[in-house]
Amino acid sequence: MTNVLIGIIILIAIIYILINNKIIVKKNKVNEAYGSIDVYLKKRFDLIPNLLAVVNKYAAHEKDLLIKITELRSKTENTIKPKETISSANEMSSLMKSLQATIENYPDIKTDRQFLILQYNLTDIEEQLSAARRAYNAAVTHHNDTIQMFPANFVAGIRRDRPYKILETPQEEKKNIDAKNILS
């Protein structure tokens, strides 16, 4: 009887260790995915001053928008909390879109080689950022699925693991395209 009890305890311990490790792996994947978002945000962050400098040469009248972007950049620089970082990043995305729409009114800028390079890089980074968000959401879904399902939910309860929140698409990206705004 004692041997059976010891056997059951060892089995439970092994199962606990395996599930615990699985949760840790999933958690690390979420952190890794968040790290990727951070890298692309940093890349975009570094690109903004150069872009603003070039735009300023041709579209100095759009001071309000340029100041807004500069202020938000400074604000983001001091942000530490992930939630705030993501919120600032979303705000920045919508401002960058407004900037691109504004640039349409200045045809001269499109002949500037430096601007074209920066615009290409910015578009590329935005695409990478979008991919990083999707990868993060996939990692979060994996993690949440794991900790909410039996028997891992018991282990997660002991570990006090909470589900992560999925990143929502910025409201600006959800909006329908306003052709009038773009074509005007």
Partner: protein, 370 residues
């Protein structure tokens, strides 16, 4: 894509195609004879083995002749051996004669295909001599089962430009050598393996494919073009099947991992493996995933894709090949229509996968072509 009128091409090549298709009919009949003859060989071998193990060893029979017992098995043994040798030489002669006629047919078929492609697509650079190397196909990482000692044949290559995007396609056949040597160590598996290898070709007796197409592990289109994104790792899109999963499981291929994508329609048809989860999603944007599903529907075949550096590789399975006649009793018109349908897919590779995306590229794209 410049393409001549199918009816005009048909009128020009009606005679040539009729001769080639007649030749094909004849060769298919002979192929059937070769395989039926081959089917007799295992019967002889099994008969002989039965004799050795059952009659000679356990059921030794003797007949009482002239006051003494005489074993009859010796005569039967000689009959069997003589029959096997006689059959072997007869079969070898038959195969030699078939091989010669088959080569003649392939020459006629190639000439007809060349004329067809040249007339149908005058602006294309078509070649039946240029060979794509096995290493080039292996480098795409689509076929992780390719071994260095496998054989590959290129039936034809086309270089063309769609919307300013150069696309290279090749009609290839990969012959993967199955390594069954490991089975020999298991008791009786050696004998069973030999027996299987003897019996396996009998199934080809009923095949409508020509002999050269019977043994390929992959036959179809292999295509490469520049992809308008910069990639560091690789991402593979493979058909969702047990075979794909088994391949990834059996072959040691640990540099990439599976990706679970959010597009349900896409995931129903494909499995994705990548070295970088973010890069896989960067490559497979939601719109591209939709286009890949549409392209699969359009082609009606198994399609496999690989995104590596700045190149997209597309493999489209077609067990009859692009630059060969379709199997079965087909008309000359059908032959022309099939080639047009297959070659036209390259146009859709550019359009559907958005390779002609008009973007300013401040860097020189590295060319990695077939």
């Amino acid at each position: 894509m410049e393409q001549a009128d199918i009816k005009t091409v048909y009128q020009n090549l009606k005679k040539d195609l009729a001769i080639a298709l007649q030749q094909k009919k004849m060769i298919m009949k002979k192929q059937k004879i070769v395989y039926i003859t081959y089917a007799i060989f295992p019967i002889l071998v099994i008969g002989y083995l039965t004799y050795i193990f059952v009659v000679n060893n356990t059921l030794q029979t003797a007949i009482y002749i002239d006051g003494e017992y005489q074993r009859t098995s010796k005569n039967i043994y000689y009959y069997f051996v003589t029959a096997i040798f006689a059959f072997y030489f007869f079969y070898k002669g038959l195969v030699n004669s078939f091989t010669k006629e088959f080569s003649k047919f392939k020459k006629i078929e190639n000439e007809a295909i060349l004329k067809m492609v040249e007339q149908l697509f005058p602006s294309f650079q078509f070649s039946q001599e240029q060979q794509v190397s096995l290493q080039q196909v292996k480098a795409s990482k689509i076929f992780n089962w390719i071994a260095d000692n496998d054989n590959m044949h290129t039936y034809g290559t086309i270089k063309n430009t769609h919307d300013g995007i150069p696309v290279h396609i090749a009609d290839i056949g990969i012959l993967h050598k199955k390594d069954l040597s490991g089975l020999v160590a298991i008791p009786y598996m050696g004998q069973l393996t030999v027996l299987y290898q003897l019996i396996e070709p009998i199934k080809y007796t009923f095949s409508k494919k020509t002999a050269d197409n019977l043994l390929y592990s992959f036959r179809g289109m292999f295509c490469s073009a520049n992809f308008p994104k910069r990639l560091v790792g690789h991402t593979l899109v493979l058909p969702r099947s047990i075979a794909t999963k088994a391949d990834r499981w059996i072959v040691e291929y640990i540099e990439d991992e599976p990706v679970r994508l959010e597009d349900v329609r896409f995931s129903k048809h494909f499995l994705v493996y990548t070295t970088d989860q973010v890069e896989a999603r960067y490559v497979l944007s939601t719109s591209l995933m939709e286009r890949i599903v549409e392209f699969k529907k359009r082609s009606g075949q198994n399609i496999m894709l690989s995104f590596l550096h700045n190149t997209i590789y597309v493999a489209i399975e077609n067990t009859e090949g692009i630059f060969s006649f379709p199997s079965g009793d087909v008309s000359s018109m059908k032959v022309i229509e099939e080639i047009v349908a297959q070659v036209s897919l390259t146009k859709y590779i550019v359009q559907d996968f958005n390779l002609n995306r008009k973007i300013f590229k401040p860097f020189n794209t590295q060319k990695d072509e077939v």
